[in-house]
Structures are given as C-alpha cells and as structure tokens.
C-alpha cells in the first residue's frame, strides 16, 4: 500500500489496442511527485485509456507502470494506493453522504476505529463545505455538492495519487470556474500527485503544472501550459490550445529578389528580414499558422503586412474579433474593443512575427514556433 503525500508515476512503453483500433500507442510519460498533470485531448484520443490503465481498471497490452518505487503493472486497483473521481461521480446511491465518505476507510486492511473514521469523515466534509449534508443521500443534493462528495471520498484516505476523470464537465459554467479554483487551492494544500483528464484546454491551462496532449492514441507533447501554448510540437497541438483556432494558411515559401515571400492562395506575404531564415523551407508544402491575437489592424515596421476587407465583427467583452478577406484567404484577428470597425472596411493587417508558426503540411510537425525556428 502506498500512502502519504505525492508519489511519482512513470509510464514505460504502455500500449493498448482494441482489435484493430490503437487506443494507446507506446506511451512514455513521467510525472513528478506532487505534480498536477492534465491529460488533454479530444474524445477517443487515449487520455481516459491512460487514466484507466494507471488505475488498474483496464490492463495494458505492453509496457509497465511505476508508482513511486513500486511496479504496479499487475496490481489490482485496490492495491495501488490511488483515489479516483469519476466523471459521473459514482457516489453509492444506497449510502448516505457520511457512509460514502467513510467507505474507503472501512476497506479491509485499514483497521481504523469507528471514532477515527467519524473524525476523518467530519474533517474532510468540513474542508469541502459539505458537513451539513452528511445524513442525506446522493440523490438529495445538488450536482455541485455531489461533485464535492466525490472529491471528499477520494481525499479521505490521503492517497499519494489522485486521478480525476473530467470531474467538472457535468457542472454549469460558473460553478465550474469556482470548482477549478477550489481544486487548485486543494492541490496546493495537499501536494498530492494529481492526474487530471479533460478535453477542455482552458481547464488544463489554468490548473496544470504540465499538460500531456493526446491525439489518436498518441501523446503529442508534454510540457508546461506556457510551453505548449507558445511552442506547440505540431499543428494539432497548436490548434487545440487557445480559445480560438489558429488561422491556417497552406502555401509555399519562395525566395524572390525582394526577399522571402510566403505564397498562400491569392495572397503573397513578404516576410520581414528577421524571418529570412524561412527560405530553407522553400522545397516543401507548408502551412502558416497564426492565432487571431497575432493578426492586428494597422501598419507596423518590420512585420508581415497585407490588405484586407472586413467581413464580420464579433464583440467579446475585453476585445473584438474580426474576420477579413485577404486575397483568397480569410484571416481572423483581434482588435481593442473601442476600435471602430465596420463590415466592408478596407484595412491594413499586421501579422506579428512573434505569433507566426510554420508547420510541415504533410506531417504537421512545427518548423517555426512563435517566430523562432523550431529546435
């Protein structure tokens, strides 16, 4: 049994397939003790498979898993010292909240006295603000309260590792933001290792020490939120992170007499001299990526410029987003909320160099990240 605060987790070459479908391909991932790591990706990308294999609920076809110094690959879930919160909370409907919270403490081998269990349950319930609900049944309390009970049941035996499977996805937007903050505070206090599955990139960004991002059963990249956002390993990661999708412009890089030019459909972008290194990509199909925040109205020295016509404007509180036609492509950009914008206006657009990404169109691999050549 593994108890106490924070254990490390190590996946070594973990693979899982269902018939012909690869659920998880050769996963290598190390999580530090006390780290908050999010497994992020669309549904079916392998993140929940990773979690269930770590929990011991399904077995891997290949590879091994270490928790702390223990090889848990072949241990049953009850012997891995892990607590888990499920998306649907999985509260036991035939038990009161107090009984739900006490359940993990009554498992064989824990040998706790009735009094000790009672005290621990009360303590956890008070921490989570559900002390007044102990006598009720799960169906008699709200979704947010059920969520807290599920968390409490995981916390009650001080596990070294917490697994959370989309725990906030059944809550309404406001409550989700509040629980997000509470979770973060809880992690800072407990310092347990937390593995958190989500498909919501903003949740992953705001909560995690590191994010592991998945697609099609493969780990695409693992890094800090800032790292993943600024230096995505490929086009998938770049497009998955951020509130809005990137502008993606398929095209080619051409060396001309006037400098290096990116040729998209009906649009030639002359790159500033600082980006002259892009000339090396002249021989392949590439995709230029830029987030809306990098596309701004107005002219700027030593940046990429183009002319465009505004097609649509959206107000989003702190800023406004616009869509503009430039040659054969549509660019989305952002402007300050007080900028006067009218549909049909001709505008000059600046593509900020530090927001430019370049991907190999065939493989999706990043060639340029935030204006810098990828390592």
């Amino acid at each position: 049994m593994i108890e106490g605060s924070g254990a490390s987790i190590e996946f070594r070459g973990i693979g899982k397939r269902y018939g012909e479908t690869v659920a998880l391909a050769d996963l290598d991932l190390t999580i530090q003790p006390g780290e908050f790591v999010s497994l992020l990706g669309p549904s079916g990308s392998g993140k929940t498979t990773t979690l269930n294999i770590l929990a011991g609920l399904i077995s891997a076809d290949s590879g091994s898993i270490m928790i702390g110094d223990t090889d848990v690959t072949y241990l049953s879930p009850d012997r891995r010292g892990i607590a888990m919160v499920f998306q649907n909370y999985a509260l036991y409907p035939h038990m009161t909240i107090a009984e739900n919270l006490a359940f993990p403490l009554q498992a064989r081998g824990r040998n706790l006295s009735r009094l000790a269990i009672k005290a621990k349950v009360q303590d956890v319930a008070d921490t989570l603000g559900i002390g007044h609900l102990l006598a009720r049944y799960p169906k008699e309390i709200s979704g947010g309260q059920q969520q807290r009970v599920a968390l409490g049941r995981a916390m009650v035996r001080d596990p070294k590792v917490f697994l959370l499977d989309e725990p906030l996805s059944n809550l309404d937007a406001r409550l989700r933001l509040k629980m997000r903050r509470d979770l973060k505070a809880l992690h800072q206090r407990l310092r347990s290792t937390i593995v958190y599955v989500t498909h919501d990139q903003s949740e992953a960004m705001s909560l995690s020490d590191r994010i592991a991002i998945y697609q099609g059963g493969r780990l695409q990249q693992c890094g800090t939120p800032a790292d993943i956002y600024r230096r995505p390993a490929n086009a998938f990661v770049a497009n998955f992170m951020g509130e809005r999708e990137m502008n993606n412009l398929p095209g080619t890089v051409v060396q001309t007499g006037g400098g290096v030019v990116f040729k998209a459909e009906g649009l030639d972008l002359t790159l500033p001299s600082t980006l002259s290194g892009w000339a090396r990509f002249h021989d392949r199909a590439v995709t230029l990526g830029i987030r809306p925040q990098g596309v701004q109205i107005g002219q700027r020295a030593d940046a990429t410029q183009c002319e465009a016509v505004l097609r649509l404007v959206e107000h989003a509180g702190t800023e406004q987003f616009f869509y503009a036609q430039a040659g054969g492509v549509e660019l989305s950009g952002a402007a300050a909320p007080d900028t006067p914008l009218a549909i049909g206006d001709r505008v000059s657009l600046t593509l900020l160099s530090r927001e430019l990404y370049l991907f190999d169109t065939a493989s999706g691999a990043a060639l340029v990240q935030g204006g810098d050549l990828a390592a």
Partner: protein, 278 residues
C-alpha cells in the same frame, strides 16, 4: 386532477376496464376463500350466497389434522432452498457474464436462452434418472437441485441484464476505494440490484411453490410431499367435499399472493429491465 378535468371520460373508461379485469381475476379466489369459510351444509345451498352466513374454520382444521401443516412446511423449505441456491449461484454467474469478457461468452449466453426454452416435462425422465443415480430421489435436496437447474437460466438472465444497467463506475469506484472485486459485488452491486434480485427470486418461488409435475415424480413418501401434491391427494380423499379442498387451495395460494402484493413493484421493475436490456 388535471387529467380528470381534461379527459374525465377516458379516465372513467380506464377505471371501468381495470375494474372488470380485477373482478375477473380475483373473483374465483374470493369465491374460493368465502366458500372455504362456510359450514359444509351452506356450501351447496341454492341460490348460492356470496358471503358466508356463519364463518367457520372447520375446513382448515380438517386439512391441518390431515397433515397439511407438514406439506406447507415442506413447500416452504423446498421453495426457500431453491431461491437461496438460485440467487446464490445466479448472482455470481450473472456477474461474470455481465462484467467479464472471455472466450465463448456468447455461446454461454445462447446456451442459457436455449435451455430456458426446453419444456420441463421433456426433461422429467432424464432428471429422474440422474437424481436416482445419485440417490436423491424422495429427498428435498434432490428436489431443490432439480428446481434450481430449471430456474437458474432465467435468474442468470434477469440478473445479468440488471447488472448491466448499473454504471460500471460504481464498481470501479469501490475497487479504487480499496475493495476487491468480490467485496465490490457484495457491498455495492448486490444492494443496488435489489429489484433484480427480488424479481428473479419471485420467478423461482412461483415455480418452486406451484410445481406439481416434478415434485410428484421425485417425491414418493407422504412426509416429503409438498403442498400441491398434498392438495391433489385431498382431491381423491375428500371427493366432492369442497370445503376442505378450497381451504387447502387457499393455504397454497394466499402466501404467494401476499408475497406478490408486497413485492410487485420490484417484480415489474425487474421484468421491464430484463426485457429492455436482454
């Protein structure tokens, strides 16, 4: 109330139809009960009276003197034993089928359905031979084993469907909380499967309590007889004496009726569950 006001006629009609069905179903039982309480000379009066002028328990006294209590206890023992064995084995077998993947699982499921469709009468001789071989003819244990063999398929089927309707995360959660799979079954799955268990149990108890054919084949001595055989023998013994006959019928019908009235909502839940999922 809103229904009553918006469609009073439909409401009335539905009530009437229900009333007709209830009367048609319950009248024979009610008639039997009333007759069993009448003194012998009042039973054959013409015109017949529905309610007894004087209530007497003499017929019940007669059958109990003739050994009905022994038959009743035998029936209780055999029914309880069959239910216990069927639920005990069925609950585990159904869990295996509901939650594990193993080679031949489909074949097992199909075999269970196939076995259910074999009429009991056609199995009578082979089962008799088998039970005779192992020396359990004329014993309650033998009868319980045979009843369980007949009823296990339906029990497994109902329970497997019921288990599948429960979210698997509940079991996973129990396992994460430090319980083995068996403990998770015992502490989480079974308490939540109460409607399914009761529905399956009712199927078994109805069969075991009412069975005549199997019991009359396997049991030969008076002291092992169950209630249906006992009543059958009254039929020969008392001839046209309706009082003791109907008293015996009531003793055999009413316990089951009471069980059904108390548990009927579980029975319906279990039935529909099985039908949708199965």
């Amino acid at each position: 109330m809103a229904v009553l006001r918006s469609a009073p006629l439909r409401h009335l009609l539905r009530g009437l139809v229900s009333a007709v069905i209830v009367v048609a179903a319950l009248f024979p039982i009610f008639w039997g009960l009333m007759t069993s309480l009448k003194p012998a000379r009042d039973i054959v009066t013409f015109p017949p009276s529905l309610l007894p002028a004087t209530v007497t328990l003499e017929h019940y006294a007669t059958i109990f003197k003739a050994g009905a209590l022994g038959f009743l206890l035998n029936s209780l023992l055999v029914s309880a034993g069959t239910v216990a064995l069927c639920i005990g084995l069925g609950a585990l077998a159904a869990y295996g089928l509901a939650r594990f993947e193993f080679p031949g699982k489909r074949a097992v499921l199909v075999a269970i359905i196939a076995v259910m469709s074999i009429p009991v009468a056609s199995l009578l001789i082979p089962t008799y031979t088998l039970i005779a071989e192992i020396g359990l003819v004329n014993t309650h244990v033998g009868l319980i084993l045979v009843y369980s063999a007949y009823q296990l398929p339906i029990v497994i089927w109902i329970l497997a469907a019921y288990y599948q309707s429960l979210p698997i995360e509940l079991e996973w959660s129990a396992m994460m909380d430090g319980y083995s799979r068996f403990q998770a079954l015992w502490k989480v799955v079974l308490p939540l499967s109460r409607p399914g268990l009761i529905a399956a149990g009712l199927f078994v108890v109805v069969f075991a309590w009412n069975d005549f054919v199997v019991a009359v084949t396997l049991l030969s001595s008076e002291d092992t007889r169950t209630l249906p055989i006992g009543i059958y023998n009254f039929l020969g013994f008392y001839g046209r004496e309706w009082g003791p006959l109907l008293a015996a019928s009531m003793v055999s019908t009413i316990p089951l009726l009471v069980i059904f009235v108390v548990l009927q909502r579980y029975f319906m839940a279990g039935m529909t569950n099985g039908s949708v999922k199965g």
